[in-house]
């Protein structure tokens, strides 16, 4: 291993090493789930810090692991989202009697998979990343001890996921057959129009779309999001999407300049996703399912950004970072309630009991709607601007109308918290660390809406 290899692999090594250490520590049965979750969050932050300190540079392993701006940005987003999810999980794991060591180790491994997908410069590495991301997620979904629902969701996720892996692998094989290369860099010089390569790329994108839960590959998401332990839901809603879009942007980048044009197919996926998810969300009664459809709709916005080409990568990164904070935050608030799978009506009376949580949830939901002064507004604006630059006005119209529809369901959740009632009456105080994390996330989202400079700088450096 040359020094360049070590530098490229450092964040991954921190995550995987941390996961192994957690598993060993778990054998001693000494630390409780709260401590485990705290340690896991520290490991994720350390991975992010390692990536930030090392910065960008030459690729490792002969171009298999890249260290460009895009890799750095995605690694940071994944690390922060992982740390937030784990910090939120402490109290939850103790309350629901979820085995802490397993949970934390699986989350860290899955995060390593997400990072691998985003930094991979090679189709095989991307596939490995996808598997490393997915296998722990299947287990995490089934980790709630008391719920039969969890098994159902996990099985559904596993079967569909296995099929997806096959599809992705088949696509990779076709691309290899057409070009003789696994390296993405080799795609640049590919002559256009070969049926093999087009079919191959289509299969690859379908596989990634499944992980990102784009319509029509989304059917698993609401069931899985609902049945998984809530902190794991928060994690997968962000990190699985980050991995998928990291890889997607890489593939788009590597074919930029060739005659392969992604715009029509990705724009169509985005349009379908936005329309269907928005309307499906309106009908939901359970908050987790509603947020699941909302995260599908946001994947539509991310796809809109990806469809406009690689110059819009900063818009996608900015959107993903804001979306990550909003999504982990809103699922996090649910994780801090006693009722793990509340209906909207169950939130009644929450304002009287947990005003801080309701304020934070309010910021998240307003941000997800895309209203100022939150960062959610700027994120949408950034994506819309990129889309209009690429002559995708029709898609922007769909996007803004989807935002309007989204206001209907987000505000329904928010307003329910102020209804009189005590359905969520709780004898326990809210976990302190979790409350702090959620509050900090809410403040960060507000700050990103008013002073977006630092985050925007990071996004601007996301070049390929």
């Amino acid at each position: 291993m040359t020094p360049a290899d070590a530098l490229a692999a450092a964040p991954l090594l921190v995550l995987v090493g941390g996961a192994c250490a957690i598993v060993l520590l778990d054998l001693s049965s000494l630390p409780g789930p709260r401590l485990m979750a705290g340690l896991g969050a520290a490991v994720a932050l350390a991975a992010g810090a390692a990536a930030a300190v090392l910065g960008t540079g030459a690729p490792g392993f002969g171009g298999a692991l890249l260290r460009d701006g895009g890799a750095l940005a995605f690694t940071l987003v994944i690390a922060v989202a992982t740390a937030m999810s784990l910090a939120l999980a402490g109290g939850y794991l103790a309350r629901e009697a979820v085995p802490g060591g397993e949970f934390v180790a699986l989350v860290l491994l899955s995060a390593a998979g997400g990072v691998l997908m985003a930094v991979g410069g090679d189709l095989v590495v991307i596939f490995l990343g996808l598997e490393l991301l997915s296998l722990p997620l299947y287990v995490l979904t089934a980790l709630l001890p008391r719920a039969a629902r969890g098994d159902e969701g996990a099985l559904k996720y596993f079967l569909l996921g296995a099929a997806t892996s096959a599809v992705l692998l088949y696509g990779i094989a076709l691309v290899y057959a057409a070009t003789g290369h696994y390296e993405l860099a080799a795609l640049r010089g590919v002559p256009p129009g070969g049926p093999l390569i087009l079919a191959g790329l289509a299969f690859i994108v379908a596989g990634l779309a499944f992980k990102a839960a784009l319509v029509p590959f989304h059917a698993w998401a609401p069931d899985v999001y609902e049945s998984a332990p809530t902190p794991a839901t928060a994690f997968m809603a962000v990190v699985a999407k980050a991995g998928a879009f990291g890889a997607l942007l890489r593939i788009v980048a590597s074919t930029t300049g060739s005659a392969i044009d992604w715009q029509v197919s990705l724009a169509a996926l985005a349009a379908l996703t936005l329309i269907l998810a928005s309307f499906a969300a309106v009908g939901q009664r359970r908050v987790k399912r509603l947020l699941a459809y909302s995260s599908i709709a946001h994947a539509g916005f991310l796809t809109m950004g990806s469809a406009t080409g690689i110059f819009a990568a900063p818009a996608v990164v900015f959107y993903l970072a804001i979306y990550g904070a909003l999504t982990v935050g809103s699922f996090g608030v649910i994780a801090l309630l006693d009722n793990d799978d509340p209906t909207i009506g169950d939130l009644a009376g929450l304002w009287r009991q947990r005003p801080v949580l309701v304020l934070a949830l309010g910021v998240f939901l307003v941000g997800l709607t895309g209203l100022p002064p939150t960062g959610g507004f700027l994120a949408k604006l950034y994506v819309f601007e990129a889309a209009i630059r690429s002559q995708l006005l029709w898609l922007v119209v769909i996007g803004v109308l989807a935002s309007v529809v989204s206001a209907a369901y987000y505000f329904r959740v928010l307003l329910a918290c102020f209804q009189p009632g005590d359905a969520s009456a709780s004898p326990h105080p809210a976990p302190r660390l979790g409350t702090v994390v959620v509050s900090v996330a809410a403040l960060a989202v507000l700050a990103a809406g008013v002073v977006p400079g630092p985050l925007l700088d990071l996004a601007q450096h996301a070049t390929y």
Binding site: L371, P372, Y382, I388, V396, L401, A407, F411, L415, P452
Partner: protein, 473 residues
């Protein structure tokens, strides 16, 4: 004193935070002070001889071309004064709201957003404030409103957000094509007539809903009725005027040819709306519903003036905006005071109150007289300028709209006759000192503006008459 436009924003923003301090009932004085301070600072800025008083320009979000560019022009300044007065009056009238701290924080946040709309000189900044208004406003209606608050809030939200969504498409499209979002820079760029029509239509989507222009008014009666009285005051008195400002400042200012082309349709709708609102007001048996539909009528009349976009009609729209704001605030306050005495807003609860509550009757009469546009009140000055200013270009619409003056007299006098001057079967105690202190300044301003309309028109004519004036003449 060196006042910048940003100071207008800082005052209510600080008040928002200050409202969260544990001050108990005294918290409403923060809202009053914030409103009055903004009004005073706006007057100072209006007296500054500059096209954009207190101008400031900072780069905010360079990759997106977003700048923080603020400044106060004539119409904006006038409406800022109105906004300050109405927010102060509304805060003073909010004494009995439960949870006063949360209420007042949302109230001041709403004031911040409304103030931002009137000073923004960047399209995206304008839009940021335009959307930021929604959250505090809908929470105020939903959490402190009447029985119908849930559906009313939702209908309001969906209507306005749909309009804003289309507006955003127009803004981003224009900004990307012109490579700037700065309103001052955009005004100097030539835009083809076809593009102007399209952009004007996209921008108007937001404004016709917020105004609301007939037939986009379905949210209005429910929202006005569901909102607590102070919120209804600012909703009708100043938030509807943000739409008037948007039409004049953005649509007429940037797309004069587009507005000229769309004017026949817009002006006809406004005339129909003015008449329709007045007729509906005549049929109501509830004071708040009368005020709501009378407002609809007046706002459409103001829209008529703004869409006609001649020098006179825009001056008229400005006066009528201020006048309607003051009058509707007085009317809502009076309706609430009447309801306090009779136990409800239904008209048949009161009869012949003039004998037992002469001051209430006198002030109510004055407010109604101003609302129906009797000469000597501000209502007359505005309506007269709007109708005479739009007559040349759109005679049919102007004549139709003139009929509203007659219907307005009918609903106004009916209201007064039923409540105050019929047989004295009910009695009520007269206005208390605090109640008079709220009403007298408002009505004094109404009379002052009726006698010296130049207070407003001088500000408008010197500053923001757009290229359109030359086209229309």
């Amino acid at each position: 004193m060196n006042v910048s436009a940003s100071d207008l924003l800082v005052v209510p923003a600080v008040a928002t935070v200050a409202s969260l301090l544990p001050l108990g009932r005294a918290v409403r004085s923060i809202g009053v002070a914030s409103g009055l301070l903004v009004a005073a600072l706006s007057i100072v800025l209006l007296a500054t001889p500059a096209a954009l008083a207190g101008e400031q320009r900072l780069v905010w979000l360079a990759p997106l071309g977003l700048s923080y560019h603020v400044g106060v022009d004539g119409l904006g300044g006038v409406l800022l004064v109105l906004s300050g007065v109405l927010f102060a009056v509304g805060a003073a009238a909010s004494g009995d709201a439960p949870h006063p701290r949360g209420y007042m924080a949302l109230w001041c946040a709403l004031q911040t957003a409304v103030t931002g709309i009137f000073i923004a000189q960047d399209l995206l900044l304008f839009f940021v404030f335009w959307e930021a208004m929604l959250v505090p406003l809908s929470l105020l209606i939903w959490l402190w409103g009447g029985p119908d608050r849930g559906p009313a809030t939702f209908r309001f939200l969906l209507y306005t957000m749909t309009g804003s969504a289309v507006f955003l498409v127009g803004i981003v499209g224009l900004g990307v094509a012109a490579r700037t979002f700065d309103i001052v820079d955009l005004a100097s760029k030539p835009i083809s007539e076809g593009a102007q029509s399209l952009l004007a239509a996209l921008f108007l989507a937001a404004f016709v809903v917020k105004l609301p222009l007939f037939p986009f008014h379905a949210w209005l009666p429910r929202a006005y009725l569901a909102a607590p009285i102070p919120v209804a005051i600012v909703l009708s008195g100043i938030i509807a005027k943000t739409a008037v400002y948007g039409i004049v400042h953005l649509c007429v200012g940037l797309f004069p040819l587009g507005i000229l082309r769309l004017a026949p349709v817009l002006v006809s709708l406004a005339a129909v709306g003015a008449l329709y609102g007045a007729l509906l007001a005549f049929r109501q048996r509830d004071t708040r519903r009368i005020i709501a539909f009378a407002s609809l009528s007046h706002l459409n009349l103001i829209g008529l003036g703004a869409f006609s976009a001649s020098h006179l009609s825009i001056e008229g729209a400005a006066i009528a905006s201020v006048s309607h704001g003051l009058v509707v605030a007085a009317l809502f306050l009076l309706a609430a005071m009447l309801a306090l005495r009779t136990g409800g807003f239904e008209l048949d609860r009161a009869s012949g109150l003039g004998a037992s509550a002469p001051i209430l009757a006198a002030l109510f009469t004055l407010a109604v007289v101003a609302a129906i546009g009797v000469p000597g009140t501000s209502g007359f000055a505005g309506e007269f300028l709007i109708l005479s200013g739009s007559f040349l270009a759109h005679p049919a619409a102007a004549i139709a709209a003139t009929a509203t003056v007659v219907v307005a007299a009918a609903y106004g006098l009916r209201l007064l006759r039923l409540a105050f001057f019929g047989p004295a079967t009910t009695t009520a105690f007269d206005l208390r000192l605090g109640e008079r202190a709220l009403l007298v300044p408002l009505l004094a301003l109404v009379l002052l503006l009726g006698l010296v309309p130049a207070l407003v028109t001088d500000r408008i004519s010197t500053t923001d008459l757009t290229p359109h004036a030359q086209v229309a003449r």
